[in-house]
Chain length 142, copies 2
């Protein structure tokens, strides 16, 4: 009796594999577009999330990473003259990140590239909506 370890378990593992696979495709999509602009994926993600002035911590949260990682990535962007670390107007502990003119221009180009050929283009708007609902439920209830 070699009961194949609970069918449900196996199905869930396969599903995890699919989620990871799609996440990797999305990451690859970003990586390609970033490379076209001379950026790494991490740098592109940071630039994408720079919707306006924000602190290091806010950027880290938007990037879903640790603040120490944001420090690392912003260092690179600053060396390229895309971002500036200014003193925060009301909190002397914090830095306020600002895009330079060059940074804002590159960000616009990046957003344009990222909008093309989305990895989710294989799904209809209705399917995307269904997917969104399922993902939200999976993330919340766990």
């Amino acid at each position: 009796m070699t009961t194949p370890p609970e069918p449900q378990t196996s199905a869930e593992r396969q599903l995890c594999g699919l989620v990871n696979g799609l996440a990797q495709q999305i990451a690859e999509h970003v990586r390609e577009r970033a490379a076209a602009l001379g950026l790494t994926a991490a740098q592109a993600t940071a630039l994408r999330e720079m919707t306006g002035p924000m602190t290091m911590r806010e950027l880290a949260e938007r990037m879903s990473c640790e603040p120490s990682n944001a420090t690392f990535v912003v260092d690179k962007l600053e060396k390229q003259g895309l971002v500036e670390r200014c003193p925060h107007p009301t909190d002397r502990r914090a830095k306020q990140l600002l895009l330079t003119a060059e940074g804002a221009a590159l960000r616009d180009r990046l957003l344009g590239l990222l909008a093309q050929d989305s990895p989710l283009a294989g799904l209809s708007p209705q399917q995307q909506s269904t997917l969104q609902g399922l993902l939200e439920q999976a993330i919340t209830r766990s």
Copy 2:
């Protein structure tokens, strides 16, 4: 005219965020269980995929990583006495990976832990099935 950059684009970006979020939760789930056994997430993934004797390349494919990374991870597992690199019976270029008795025992414990409290438990079997179909379609058509 500051057209808010195409509503569809924005929805797709949000969806990408959700996919990444769920993937991170899955990874965190593995990381926790791995840590309980003194393994890193990468080591646990390798152990989980060792369903039987296989080459380095096969393992790398199952882990969705580069062969050079598999070398790195198997090095660690070998140092812990969980895996052995044996000469491949028919191809002298390749190594055949075998679990030691200790490795097989630890793998059993790992599989048990990973089966508990799946990050996808918030979805009904039917919802999981729907999700699987959508993910497969998204991955294939891109």
